[in-house]
Symmetry: C2
Subunit: 223 residues, 2 copies
DNA sequence: CATTGTTTGTAACTAAGTCACAAACAGGTA
DNA sequence: TACCTGTTTGTGACTTAGTTACAAACAATG
């Protein structure tokens, strides 16, 4: 265990695994650096690797038959992809797509080695299952969000959660619509409302939050 | 292996397991018969048992903060509950509710024994993971259905899929609304439309399908 | 047959989502 | 610079879904 690869720093629990299958998995792993907008996997693809994300940002989204797109979740530093887990464990093909949003470093463990560690190491198995199990909860929350009618509240919440330190959000209305699972025009309408009341200032691909308090009040139901 | 319990007939794969932990799990299992409308678990409950459903019907649903109710999935003969799996594997508390709709026979394996077999038997583990993994796909499909705007199409599909051999559906409008994640009035409106065009005949808690072809055409987009 | 709770019908209203554009803008190229 | 092209945003008219607040019909029970 003296030559643990550096990337395991991001996954402290896994660093404690002492198992030959794990050693083999690490030996057969490969580190990749994916450029922005790289398509990690498509709906219908088979799954060849388990994925540890070291750094960067990747969007996992579903393209519905209606043409509407919906973000299921995002992967960042120290995370693993639940859909990949699902496909590896349950078989079948990817039911959604993933694309990098920023340059992303990741470690890939081939499916074969993944299964071996999964069967051999309790620690690894616990880790994989825990991450995976958490995602069902997330999906239920997503369901709740989507069935909730008030887009303005969800929009305000999203803006507050995703604002930069300078209190701005650099995103187009179209992208926001994907995030919230709604239509571009609906987003535009609400943003214009927010602008009328001076809660935000709008410019191309940029939203500047001005009155965070009011936005926050809206989210918490105070108005 | 000469004294396999009879209920394993419903789970043929599991009958092949030859593992002391599995034997122990079976020994410590209990068979229960739950009356209709029995509340199997609530949101916020801890999970004490893995559940094999032998027979009957159980509805797993989420009660949203808005007060709206939404059916996540149903359990029937030969199935196991994914949310239970999720909670057992990932920890935490039940994120939804379950209630029997008909008298339901089930076998309960205590959490402790479940974990032991899960760690010990590859066959058992594969089974659990496969069932579990499949549910994420279902949830994504549910998401798609909910974001799809045309309630009439989803309603027609539901009626066709759930009709009795006599071509009727015994269900109230309120229950249908829960199934499809919408409001009772919306269901009533569409059913009345269906009745106007003589696709169905309505009476209290009963919908008789008359023109399955037209309903089916609606589903497949032919009108 | 009166009471009670459930189921269904209805109308008026608000919000979301769609459609079909037009206008503004950014980046490259002649 | 002026032009072209693709993207982003604005807008209005329209359809559908969801909400609110009832009333009426019905089933079961005492």
């Amino acid at each position: 265990m003296s030559e643990l690869p550096e990337w395991l720093n991001e996954f402290p629990e896994l660093a404690t695994i002492d198992d030959p299958a794990w050693t083999r998995a690490i030996e057969n792993s490969s580190t990749v650096v994916l450029p922005p907008d790289y398509e990690v996997f498509h709906e219908g693809d088979a799954c060849k690797n388990y994925i540890f994300v070291l750094d960067g940002a990747t969007r996992v989204y579903k393209l519905f038959e209606s043409g509407r797109e919906m973000v299921l979740y995002r992967l960042g530093r120290g995370e693993t992809c639940s859909l990949t887990t699902s496909v590896l464990l349950a078989g079948g093909l990817y039911p959604a797509n993933a694309v990098t949003e920023a340059e992303t470093r990741a470690v890939l463990i081939p499916a074969r080695e993944f299964h071996e560690v999964f069967n051999s190491s309790t620690i690894f198995r616990d880790y994989v299952c825990r991450v995976f199990g958490g995602r069902i909860r997330d999906m239920i929350m997503l369901l709740e969000a989507v069935t909730m009618r008030n887009v303005n509240i969800r929009l305000a919440r999203w803006l507050l959660n995703n604002r930069s330190p300078e209190n701005t959000v650099e995103v187009s209305h179209r992208e926001l619509a994907f995030e919230l699972g709604t239509a571009r025009e609906v987003i535009s309408r609400h943003l214009r409302e927010f602008e009328k009341t001076s809660w935000v200032r709008l410019s191309r691909k940029n939203i500047e939050l001005i009155d965070n308090q009011s936005l926050s009040d809206l989210v918490s139901g105070a108005r």
